[in-house]
Amino acid sequence: MRILVQQEAFDAGAELNRFSAPLQGMGAVVSFTGVVRDTAQQDLQVMEIEHYPGMTEKALQSIAEEARSRWSLGDVLVIHRHGKLGPNDPIMMVATAAPHRKDAFEAADFLMDYLKSRAPFWKKEHTGDATEWVASKQEDEDALTRW
């Protein structure tokens, strides 16, 4: 299990290959990459991500362990960046490996739902002439009730 919280960019394809290479008997590998989306006004300059050092790593570890306890998984990868990102920069990725595709899909979906609302990250958008903290969405909170 690999949990990375980092300021530096990451290479999603290289990480997917590094994750997959040592797997044995895992028929399914799912990856999710989250990318900075421009705002509706198309003037996003910077997406700044603040986090809570110490708690972040513990929260991600605990979410990943929860996924491993709920599904039959061979391995789990979580990478989440913080700091200043630009439009179309990858923010984070998760990958799951499982003997069967249903487990790999559900676990990745679960990880994303929990990462959104239970890991201590906060996004701030810098647009043309303003900065604004991204508001949490009720639908993200509601998504947790699926699990």
Partner: protein, 81 residues
């Protein structure tokens, strides 16, 4: 104990972290003490539905006990992913 603030809570209060001497027995008591300090605290803690709290780096409720806690953090709902 150490009290930490993140995102707009940090900006509103004007600092990321401070040492607080308190006998507060639960999170809510600590919030009441902080609110009584200055307007910027009262403002930051005016709408608790917009706040989340972690005690020793674990998410907690506002009525969570503080006995022995070394670190309490206040922040808005998380927006990771």
């Amino acid at each position: 104990m150490d009290v930490l603030y993140f995102a707009w809570v940090r900006e509103r209060i004007g600092l990321p972290k401070e040492r607080v001497e308190t006998d507060a027995s639960c999170v809510m008591d600590l919030i009441d003490e902080l609110r009584a300090r200055e307007d910027r605290y009262a403002l930051a803690f005016s709408d608790l539905s917009a706040l989340r709290v972690a005690v020793d780096q674990e998410l907690a409720d506002f009525d969570a006990p503080l006995n022995g806690a070394r670190e309490v953090a206040f922040f808005p709902p998380m927006t990771g992913g």
